[in-house]
């Protein structure tokens, strides 16, 4: 059953075994597994419910309004400010991401075992959960039908330089490369939780309430008792009804910004005030390479390949073409020759990005009027890594035959030959000269064995509040250096199994 704002005419007061907040990579697997285990689950989602047919348009701005928090205008404050994207729709950020699948790297799991006391998170023990997730989201190699010249060009440059390239695994059913991932898949090929986990959840009798903003998690002593929220009409922004869900288990899966914000708003603190801290985000640098040959990057799958040669340093590179209206955000020029330049380059260019496994940290803050703010300060190590990633991506482009590259650096926006690369190091840049963006917010309710150094335990259960779980990227103790959605889904699945196996402990 799906309830949306237009069908809701009175306040909602329901009781269930488990209330899951957020329908993305964490919440949807949790809801589905628990519903299938025989528990009654209500899944709440702040965003609206859209189906595949609703994504069959080219109105990019409308898609940003409908699918992204603040229309995509969210950013962290720091040096530099960093734009980030948060999906706010049924399916969460999986509805707007590229569907790249990575198991948590072994070196990360080992680190979590050693540094955070998460002894059970071994590759062998996690294998079952990864496999289960991969089957449900149909993780498989990219089809040749979807391949496009931009990814092939990146690969060509990397191979020429002897760099290791990974043919990506994506969650898809016959993806033919529409490349509208950022605004919702119009074919239904991309297996976001919207089309994978949520139908399975609903099939087993699960209840989904969309357009529901949870304002507070309710508690009594050391136990959760449910949640309170409101139904918001997305066309007017006004409250339409109030929601009260009574449950002895609450799972917060709102993402690494909204989950800690919700916990703090609800007066749920941990002893060491770690909630909301430890924010990290895989900052991305973006470089545009221009070629003589036509590329038409918008006509094929995004991120068919990733250059993994520098993973040990904390850098992964891929191409990710963007629709023309969003190009204005990635191409910071303006003026007399703007349109003629865009005409010259748009179908001859590659939009590439390098993801950095960051060690910088930030924090989430609550503001008045139910708003949140994230601060994040790029440290020197990550700043130099960012510069290096720009140089590496530019090098790959030139190796592939680029005639020029555009950089995200104030003061050095174009390079014309590979010899120009040294300018990246000759100029004295500072972090504010960098343009960065990200889509991977993590770490703000970190898990760990030691309650004095973590917010939740290995199953995502809050150390101090029985029945409260966190199941999203907030729980990551460290950056993972790869696309995180499969890790989130696997950890969420594992936590769901734990809850189901110990249900009497929580529901008595």
């Amino acid at each position: 059953m799906i309830l949306t704002y237009d069908k809701i005419v009175k306040n909602i007061d329901e009781t269930c075994d488990v209330c899951v907040i957020g329908s993305g990579a964490g919440g949807a697997p949790m809801a589905k597994e628990l519903q299938e285990a025989g528990l009654s689950v209500i899944l709440l989602e702040e965003g609206s419910y859209y189906q595949t047919k609703d994504f069959r348009n080219s109105d990019t701005i409308e898609s940003l309004i409908k699918l992204y928090r603040e229309g995509g205008s969210t950013f962290t404050i720091g040096k530099p400010n960093i734009s980030y994207a948060e999906g706010r729709t049924v399916g969460g950020s999986t509805t707007i991401n590229g569907g790249i699948c990575w198991r948590t790297p072994d070196k990360i799991l080992k680190r979590w075992q050693w540094e955070n006391g998460l002894a059970d998170l071994t590759p062998k023990r996690m294998d079952y959960f990864f496999s289960r997730v991969e089957e449900i989201i149909s993780a498989k190699p990219v089809l040749s039908e979807s391949m496009n010249k931009d990814s092939e060009t990146l690969k060509k440059g990397a191979i020429k330089l002897g760099y290791e390239v990974r043919a990506n695994i994506r969650s898809h059913q016959a993806c033919v490369g529409t490349n509208q991932c950022l605004t919702g898949c119009p074919t239904g090929a991309k297996q976001s939780t919207l089309v994978s986990y949520i139908p399975l959840f609903l099939k087993k009798g699960g209840r989904l309430i969309a357009n529901c903003r949870v304002r507070k998690i309710k508690k009594s002593g050391h136990y959760v008792t449910g949640v309170k929220g409101v139904i918001i009409d997305p066309t007017t922004g006004k409250t339409k009804a109030h929601v009260r869900i009574r449950s002895k288990v609450v799972v917060a899966s709102c993402g690494a910004i909204q989950t800690p914000a919700l916990l703090l708003r609800s007066g749920i603190h941990d002893k060491k005030r770690l909630t909301g801290g430890n924010l990290f985000m895989h900052p991305n640098t973006k470089v545009i390479g221009v070629f003589d040959d036509p590329i038409y990057g918008w006509k094929g799958v995004n991120q068919a390949y990733q250059i993994t040669e520098f993973m040990g340093e904390g850098i992964i590179m891929a191409v990710n073409f963007i629709p023309l209206p969003i190009m204005a955000l990635a191409f910071p020029h303006y003026g007399k020759n703007y349109l003629s330049t865009v005409k010259e380059i748009y179908n001859h260019c590659i939009f590439g990005a390098a993801l950095i496994e960051d060690t910088s940290r930030g924090r989430v803050h609550n503001l008045p009027f139910d708003q949140t703010l994230a601060t994040y300060q790029l440290n020197q190590q990550d700043f130099h890594l960012a510069l290096r990633s720009i140089a590496l991506l530019s090098e790959v482009y030139f190796a592939a035959g680029a005639k020029r590259v555009y950089l995200p650096l104030r003061g050095l926006q174009e390079l014309h030959t590979i010899d120009d690369l040294r300018k990246i190091y000759e100029y004295r840049f500072s972090p504010v000269d960098l343009e960065l963006m990200t889509v991977h917010m993590m770490g703000t309710c970190q898990m760990g064995h030691d309650a004095s150094r973590s917010v939740v335990n290995q199953y995502g259960e809050h150390h101090e509040l029985r029945g409260l779980f966190v199941a999203d990227a907030s729980v990551f103790p460290t950056s993972i250096g790869v696309n995180p959605s499969e890790t989130i889904m696997a950890l969420s699945t594992r936590s769901a199994f734990h809850i189901a196996e110990n249900v009497s402990k929580y529901l008595e």
């Binding site: 993806c175 033919v176 209206p325 204005a328 303006y334 005409k343 179908n347 009027f369």
Partner: protein
């Protein structure tokens, strides 16, 4: 959201003026009427933002509009400066040592240009045809799924 509401007239004028500087039409492209459509798109977008972001943006736009005084251009609104002085004023923000001024201009620039780049005349000019492409891909996907089921 707010389909019947529009932005304040002074904001619409500001956006129209900025558009002329950010994306002046080349000689071989007619973009008559684009100001109206970008203001409609930006109204949709800005009015969908949360109140904090929406009012913050509108206040900062006011500061931008009246800012020439602080940059030595005299007591005059940006929109009333002549074209060349407007360009100089924009460049002062764009190259300012104060990071927040640069970031604000970059954000407004991005917003206005993203709205402008929704114009289908620009798509044709650039060679971007997403609707046809989406339509073809939907068919291709359906055929592939059918063949996989068989």
């Amino acid at each position: 959201m707010h389909p019947e509401k529009s932005l304040p007239k002074d904001v619409q004028k500001l956006f129209s003026v900025l558009l002329q500087h950010f994306i002046p039409p080349p000689p071989d492209l007619n973009l008559d009427g684009i100001e109206r459509s970008i203001n409609h798109i930006l109204a949709r977008y800005i009015l969908a933002l949360s109140p904090l972001l929406r009012y913050g943006l509108l206040i900062l736009l006011k500061f931008f509009e009246w800012g020439p005084f602080f940059f030595g251009f005299g007591l005059i609104r940006f929109s009333n400066l002549n074209f060349n002085l407007q360009l100089k004023y924009i460049d002062k923000w764009n190259h300012s040592r104060v990071n927040q001024l640069r970031e604000f201009l970059n954000g407004v620039r991005g917003m206005i240009m993203a709205a402008a780049m929704m114009d289908k005349r620009i798509w044709e000019y650039v060679g971007y045809a997403p609707e046809e492409h989406i339509h073809e891909k939907i068919k291709q996907h359906e055929q592939l799924m059918s063949s996989m089921e068989v």
